[in-house]
Symmetry: C2
Subunit: 371 residues, 2 copies
């Protein structure tokens, strides 16, 4: 059987990878255009010394652009850190436990579980809530916070399981810490409700290796003595994220992406886009007559990572190869969960979603009789 062909030829490729994922075409075009001579400096941004005004201004502008996008209050510091979000799995307890030996974690899928395993190396973990019993098909409502916990940690969106908090939860007793790696900048946010937010850049910002940390002033100064200085929030806050050489090119690209988001209408526009795009894919799943199945309860479905399975899992490899032949790439689900995952980050074009939905409908029609 030949690979399925759509009526209209598709020449463009779309990147549904969970991360590093799609970046805004306009940002990439600008970065390419000024790759050899940035801002008339005569050198590539890769070659600009970080101690000079040119880079310092770049970092400062990126930070203030981000502050504007999310209305980040003045008593929060914005840090550009090395190491990816997984480094924060250790750095959050190292920096925030203080004298406490207990922290609350909400278990909602693959990434929060991994996070908890790392945290147990530093403290006792109280599972404040868990959706493990439902196979991570929802976000848990009823939390039991520890009385002595230094903080409560949640993962706002689980990329492997396709579940997301809508809206983000609210607690007042202890600082709420959020791993927002995979839905950062995809919706408005009342930053003042959180103690600390962190996000690896390789989803909605772009360059892997950079991590954004937004931390409330009063949580600084609690770091364990074994915390490496470059990963100490207070030390980096005092050094304006330049205690050591930052990932300069990544900071520059992040600034371009922040400006692109602002030009698109800001995080309100990103939220509108993500609802519209993800709804189209979920509808294609729900209206497939059980050809496709989404295990996640509707009110908890992720707008960033649409995860679904084929009723006949034997067709999954064929789905993936036919999709790739149509320019729909990196749709394979996370190894832990299998199936299909369509990551719809901010930079995903509407046309990518339209092509995917079209393909899903044609594929189901062509293969339904084989189920």
């Amino acid at each position: 059987m030949e690979p399925l062909c759509l009526a209209e030829s598709v020449s463009r490729q779309y990147n549904f990878a969970a991360g590093p994922g799609v970046m805004p075409a306009e940002v990439l075009a600008q970065a390419q255009q000024e790759f050899l001579d940035w801002d008339g400096n005569g050198f590539s941004m890769l070659e600009i010394p970080f101690t000079g005004d040119a880079f310092k201004n770049t970092l400062c502008q990126a930070r203030e652009e981000l502050r504007g996008l999310l209305n980040i209050p003045d008593d929060y510091r914005i840090l550009f850190m090395h190491g990816g979000a997984s480094a924060q799995f250790s750095l959050v307890p190292l920096n925030l436990l203080g004298n406490s030996r207990l922290a609350d974690y909400v278990e909602t899928g693959y990434w929060s579980s991994k996070n908890m395993r790392e945290a147990r190396r530093y403290c006792e973990v109280n599972i404040a809530a868990s959706s493990a019993h439902g196979g991570y098909d929802h976000m848990p409502d009823h939390w039991r916070l520890g009385r002595e916990s230094a903080y409560c940690h949640i993962t706002s969106n689980e990329t492997a399981n396709g579940v997301q908090f809508h809206p983000l939860p609210d607690i007042t007793d202890i600082p709420l810490i959020v791993d927002m790696t995979s839905d950062f900048l995809s919706r408005p946010l009342d930053v003042s409700r959180y103690g600390l937010i962190y996000a690896g850049a390789q989803k909605n910002i772009g360059p892997a290796g950079l991590t954004i940390v937004i931390v409330r002033d009063d949580l600084l100064g609690r770091a364990h003595p074994a915390t490496p200085s470059v990963f100490n929030y207070q030390v980096q806050a005092e050094a304006n994220s330049m205690l050591n050489t930052p990932a300069t090119f990544a900071v520059y690209l992040a600034g371009l992406v922040f400006r692109w988001i602002a030009a698109q209408g800001g995080v309100m526009a990103m939220e509108y886009n993500s609802i519209r795009r993800s709804s189209r894919v979920y509808r294609a799943v729900d209206e497939s007559g059980d050809f496709y199945r989404c295990p996640v309860l509707p009110e908890y479905r992720s707008r960033m990572n649409v995860c679904f399975t084929l009723a006949d899992d034997a067709l999954t490899p064929r789905f993936l190869s036919d999709a790739a032949a149509q320019g729909l790439l990196h749709l394979k689900g996370h190894p832990m969960t299998g199936g299909i995952r369509a990551s719809l980050y901010n930079a995903m074009p509407d046309a990518g979603v339209a092509t995917l939905v079209d393909f899903m409908q044609h594929f189901a029609k062509a293969h339904r009789r084989h189920v």
Copy 2:
């Protein structure tokens, strides 16, 4: 007085920054050319998922290219890590102290001193040797290693002070750990003489944020329990540097630079170039009739960072501004030492050095009467 003009007009600019510094023009041109569509994948290297074969092959090729460049023995692991060399100031003691509470450090300038301050947070530091009494004008010969030390740490080249080990020292009692950030890949190296070598990438490799760690197998498995997993050498060695998302674009660029070095003739050619280029600048200093002065004893002068002062320090700002007008940029010395610093990393073109020497001679001639 008008800025000094050379007889021949200089249109090209040269980047003498200590880091991030100059990168090979051919590498930048290739990266720009394939910036939007890497290797026919249809996406930028920035967008390639790190779990797919495309990136895994990129990382593997970069690692093997580096292994070839330095003839790295099979019992050494090559890690691509996050965080810059300053992170290693903490990660070396966290990973290597084991049950020991003592480590030897050789104090040779600004960076080794900074390194020792960080190490003191993890263990007792035995200063095995120091050149502080000579104002860091040489590398110390006579070392007194601690009997119980877990390792001895040196900084092979001090960027702020312009001193460098020629050749690298040899010890056999305990593992020798080398911060080789600023002269990595600038000369051949017998890796088997060292326990661990690390280098932040933003000097002779390029992209800031990436750090190369070369570690002997028998030193793995000693990490302190508080070491974050993503910064645990053994864990990253077992995960092929992909426990979490690596700095993918930086790894790709590093691979391009490694291939560029090989194409230039390898590290032997880099050493030849660095001797030739640095000798020209030092000669211009020594033959200036004391207009320029290099405080470093000749046999310890750095081939990477040529540091000198003007006898009349009041002329330094004028030197810097006139040099910049000639396209000779980022020549300002480290804030701790002042004066002038010309960083001559592998990618510095000979023409940059020729233009600098020409400028130095003209500047001295024009201003000698004012001294």
